[in-house]
Symmetry: D2
């Protein structure tokens, strides 16, 4: 019996209703549903609850009810186990979420029959070291961003790729995006769109004042090292725009493709290029 | 006897030495030198001191010792009196400062003989109103910037120009730059270079997520109104990157060319296009 | 009795039908309609015909039936006489044409009553000199473009503005656009949008290989001089994408605001910013 | 005995002198030098000559004397045999050529000892079909470009990637660049820099008029199909800016990574990022 974790984003008004419907459909289809204790309690289904920290290791699949943001968050949490996940969209069409509310039944049925493909998406890691010791590590499905605070002057960074000094960057910040993140913040800052089938990282400067102001696409094996050349004041490292960490002048930052990948369940033959076109039409890109 | 205000930026190591030399040269040339009391005291020249608030109204000229930043700051302070000012550069070549340390004597001599031209530079005003009442007003020689804080999601703005709804902007921020500021932050954000002879304002979005992501150049008579369409969280209004003000969701912002201009004294026939070329060569643009 | 020139673009299928209707309405409203002999003949209205070269000098107004392209063409022809013109749109909504087919009657009535405003639009001149002698002159309402042929290597240009050497440009070409043209080809090449109320020219490089690759907005008094620094091979000077001229290596090119302006009749209070927003919505910008 | 093909670009003034020196050094080092008959004749070394068409199949290595352009040309010619090649630079530092004139001896010595690495660079193929039949095929090391002629209106293209309709493009042209070509024409048109270690193609529109104007980076397995939606007039397909072909309205174009790669001999441990930095410093990027 396959175990599936259900993760509703209760901030969305319909989350509880759709979650109940989904749980019912999954049970009927022969899945064992598990949830975080707190979520289970909110749905009056304490019997499905499980300790948060014990949850990932036992899952066969994960499903989030929410938007792209909720899926990003679940991806960061589950990716070390490489559990196939998908999202049920409670908002407007996302790049990442796969299933609309009205398609719940067919999605559950396809899941039961194994009628889906699994799409691998690389993640990006940022390791922060101070005096030679790692003091923090962030992971992002979309991107890792180094950015200055509102009152700070521009950042001055030294950029090394695979140990080679690549240049100085004077900018408001630097985005290191995965292909998944190339249609998010990196795009706003002038970065290219990168097909998710490509194993690559995109380095996109934010408001660069220096000559070296072009986006740079590197192999997913590349190791990117960043040092501050002027004492930074109020600098942040952010993952997916959701998690962040304050940086100090002496911090060294190493950014590279994470060892594990997020696995997206895809029920529809809807290519990245198709979604791209839809987004362009809607004026979202 | 012409009165000249001397404004040294004491943070620069050479400021005191150059200020003493300049004061001596100006006195010899028949100028009456006045300073802020505090500055006069630091140079052991209390007799030149004058109360800060009484200073502008009596000046014929103003001279700042520092860099472009110090000149920006003096310009914002003196512009309502339209006092001709210039800068003596204590750092590297600036776009705005005119005179190098070694040219002090010839500059003072040219000032005495009236051998200079006065270049007008427009300033930009930002008026913030809350519940119909003006609650703050900023002025910039370079730019007025609306920007989101580090932890905020992108801003959603409604933009009206001359009362016409021009569009929605979803972005990290919006720069309204003068021609003077077109080579500063606006350029980093993708804005065009604008000749200082042109009376115009440049609207440059910062990392726009929306379709309308192009810089827009408007007549200096244009009145730009900005409203927030989503409750902003930690939004700042900044003038010249030096003064700032926190904004609230209900604030209305009106941005327009200021009624007075900054007057730059130019001793050299060195056109904007010449400086532009030098800057490009140095890799600063 | 006011004389109005009617200029149908017969390539458009509806041109003849709409022209007949318009002529009828204008006559009823007390206007004297005149046309080029050839056009008059095509409408079986030889009595309205006039010799092409005698036409402009006698007109009070001009009206074109076609699209933005036809209006561009008429503007270049009539601008030395500063005759107020407008366009009746036979295609999809343009930036320039003012009146839809179904609004013919009300437009003619407004014209009769003088219920319209006249909007001035600057034009741009390009003078080509060879061995000190002017050998050709083009005019554009949108833009003057210098561009290389398909088989040529990139152009190397020396750019002087107001006599000051501004820089070298290595590029596929250079666009000098009016505010009217800022939403046309210049925009595709990365130029800013410029309000038509602003008297300015925009210099936008096409695929610049050099450092100096930013659009530059100059005062409408600026004189732009261009020299080739490498013998060009197959280089063209084009006005509004409609008229063109081959250039030689020794040619000097001088570009500046034309002494006369095009006058657009505007019946509707529909600001530039309003049209801009419509265009963005349609995905045309 | 290893056979090495020597290909001097006789347009360069020093080509003959350097070629003689190189041939001498290669012979001393125990290589068998072969050349095209015509080149051999120009160097009075007819004994080294070989029929042009028989040459590639017998080579162990190839060396070009010229600039990046000459190396591009040799790469297109030899790549089906995957013969390791390098360039001796007769002009200014290139991105591709490896050896300066003064380093000839050490380069030959390293070649003899096998002290070099071989760097693979993907090539891009363009297949043109008319009425279902292939009528031409071009290959590029840098890029394949579809572009309109000087007098043509913009191109309207339909773009399919891997069979998925990706969008319409209204533009002056489209560049499909390899990582090698990402620092060439694609960069001028606004494309990102792509590390040569990455197997990817970059699609960069030239002066796009449409919404979809962003560079797109796709996997090297991607198949890009292009159809014209409006009858094109004077449209060209160009490879590396050196070879070209006129296109017709009914032509279908298929662009994909070539089955063979160019192999660059690298004597120095000089990474792509190092060259990138040098180029930025020189103001070439």
């Amino acid at each position: 019996m396959k175990k599936i974790g259900v993760f509703p984003l209760f901030e969305k008004p319909e989350a509880a209703r759709v979650a109940r419907k989904l749980i019912h459909l999954l049970a009927q289809a022969g899945f064992q549903v598990v949830m975080e204790e707190e979520s289970a309690a909110r749905l009056d289904a304490a019997e499905l609850g499980c300790r948060k920290e014990d949850l990932p290791a036992q899952l066969d699949y994960g499903v989030v009810l929410g938007g792209d943001g909720a899926l990003l968050s679940l991806a960061r949490r589950l990716y070390p186990w490489e559990i196939p996940i998908f999202g049920i969209n409670l908002g407007h069409l996302g790049f990442l979420t796969e299933v609309e509310d009205k398609e719940l039944e067919s999605a559950v049925e396809k899941l039961r029959r194994g009628e889906f493909v699994v799409e691998n998406r690389i993640m990006v890691n940022a390791e922060v070291t101070s005096a030679g010791k790692q003091r923090a590590c962030l992971v992002g499905l979309n991107d890792i961003v180094i950015s200055k605070g509102l009152f700070s002057r521009m950042l001055r960074l030294e950029l090394l790729i695979d140990g080679f000094f690549t240049g100085m960057l004077a900018a408001d910040g630097l985005i290191v995006a995965t292909p998944t993140g190339s249609t998010a913040y990196s795009l706003s800052a002038g970065g290219p769109i990168v097909s998710p089938q490509l194993s690559a990282l995109v380095l996109t400067p934010i408001c660069a004042h220096s000559l070296f102001n072009r986006p740079l696409v590197v192999d997913s094996n590349a190791v990117i090292e960043i040092k501050f050349t002027a004492p930074p004041h109020e600098v942040l490292l952010t993952a997916d725009g959701q998690e962040c960490l304050g940086l100090e002048a002496e911090d060294g930052i190493k950014i590279y493709t994470a060892p594990h990948r997020t696995k997206f369940i895809r029920f529809k033959e809807k290519s990245f290029y198709h979604i791209l076109r839809e987004k362009v039409k809607e004026g979202k890109l």
